[in-house]
Symmetry: C2
Amino acid sequence: MTEQVALFGPADPELRIVEDLVAKSIAKDPPEVARPLTELFAAGGKRIRPALVMLTAMCGSYDRDRTIPAAMAVEVTHAATLVHDDVIDRSPTRRGRPTVAATLGDEPAIVIGDFYFAKAYELAARTNTPEVVAILARAVMEICAGEVRQQSIRYRYSTSADEYMRRIEAKTATLLAACCDIGALLGGLDDAKRTALRSYGRLLGLAFQIADDVLDYTATEGEVGKPIGHDILEGFATLPLMLASIDLEDGRRPSENEARKVVDAVRNSDGPQRALDQARDHADAARSQLAGIDDGEAVSALAALAGYVVSRKL
Amino acid sequence: MTEQVALFGPADPELRIVEDLVAKSIAKDPPEVARPLTELFAAGGKRIRPALVMLTAMCGSYDRDRTIPAAMAVEVTHAATLVHDDVIDRSPTRRGRPTVAATLGDEPAIVIGDFYFAKAYELAARTNTPEVVAILARAVMEICAGEVRQQSIRYRYSTSADEYMRRIEAKTATLLAACCDIGALLGGLDDAKRTALRSYGRLLGLAFQIADDVLDYTATEGEVGKPIGHDILEGFATLPLMLASIDLEDGRRPSENEARKVVDAVRNSDGPQRALDQARDHADAARSQLAGIDDGEAVSALAALAGYVVSRKL
């Protein structure tokens, strides 16, 4: 799993086509909205969402004409959520570059996000499968409902690990589950396999997000592409902090100095390791969902992916 | 056309069903996102967009099962755009009530708007007609691209009437055209009739928006449900101001006192009347698009609607 190029097995060549088509499609959008997104995509990203659509579709009978626009749709949906997240979280950087909101202002960033949500649904419609649109739309609705709940508990650091799990369920697991559901649907898999792959996606998402939140503590700012301690400053406790049993005063934004001290204390605790253990448990549970899917390159890649998300350094 | 109840002819009973279903559907959404939208819908609105879907569908063979979710989708799309518009324009009131952004803050309003855009596409998918999703998504993309352009010319009051027409084309005409296109598609009309109805919707939208901008000068604050002179304060000149040949200094936000003086000067000029003449020309052009559509109650209602939008007092 050291070579990025082989990360998604049989989906890798298809993903290069997806990336190319997304870039070409955005290049045809009006320049006012296209420029910021071109930069966001050029800055990279893990492409895990379109990869999940591809690999789960390949678990059945792969229909390229419908799967490629679906993979484009989930990637563009993810980009749209990032553009709005960065308005809401006032994050200065994303993937090591200034956010759309930081560059152009909140108002254009809101509208550019709306444009790319719409583009995502338009791409989903190109599958000629209304259920793909519906699955994607319902996932976005869950993400949004979770986000509104989350905003109501900002600066309440004493929330429970249950609350954290609910948060990452909405924030990450929902869309990854939807990606697998869409792929399984387009691959023509039966209901039992579709349900198993959807569960795989959900559990992978939980593992992925916990590992991501661990990296926020263990990696350097340059490595993660956003400021260390940003979550704390924005009012959210993640699992490593919760498991480190470090108290932070509720109800107010901590100073940058306080946030830095908390980050150091978490780093020196067993919080990150214990959180990573939980991520691994979820990755194992994800892998076990693959038991009933016919063996093949795609299933192997999905199994390997579950290992990757909890072992990655970046 | 004095009775509100008979405004949309044969679509009126269907619209009551649409309203009821939208309200019931929102009531099932998570309370965090449902409450603000329930209030926005309870405050009323002209229902012109779902009415256009209905009436154009009724110009062909009316398929209730597909037309009702499409009508719901355009109404929810419109609501979602209003929620985001009110974040961007910092408008304190809408339909005479505090906006979602003013009540809950910008961050929740952004996410609640995203939720309702997603819900709209999910409703559109229920037509089981991917092209409905695509038409709606492309309309939203045009609206957004226009909005980003518009933000770049804020406080440039000396823009031309051409620029104003481009602005209202994106802001209003695009979605009304899409409503008619969707209805004509679902009604099974041929390409020529679909194109004519789409043009009708576009021209009706231009007439409607010009008349709306005239009302902003001629009606009272209580009547329009938002502050008089708001457009000027937010940096946009509308047609009545442009035709009144009143100069406003470019590049800065005027004071409330300056804005009030400009409003009074426009009211005392022939700007509103000349703008209304242009609205009537567009309404006439809209009506002329109906010539090739088979006569019937639905066509009569569409023709009457063109007269209504330029004669309404509110």
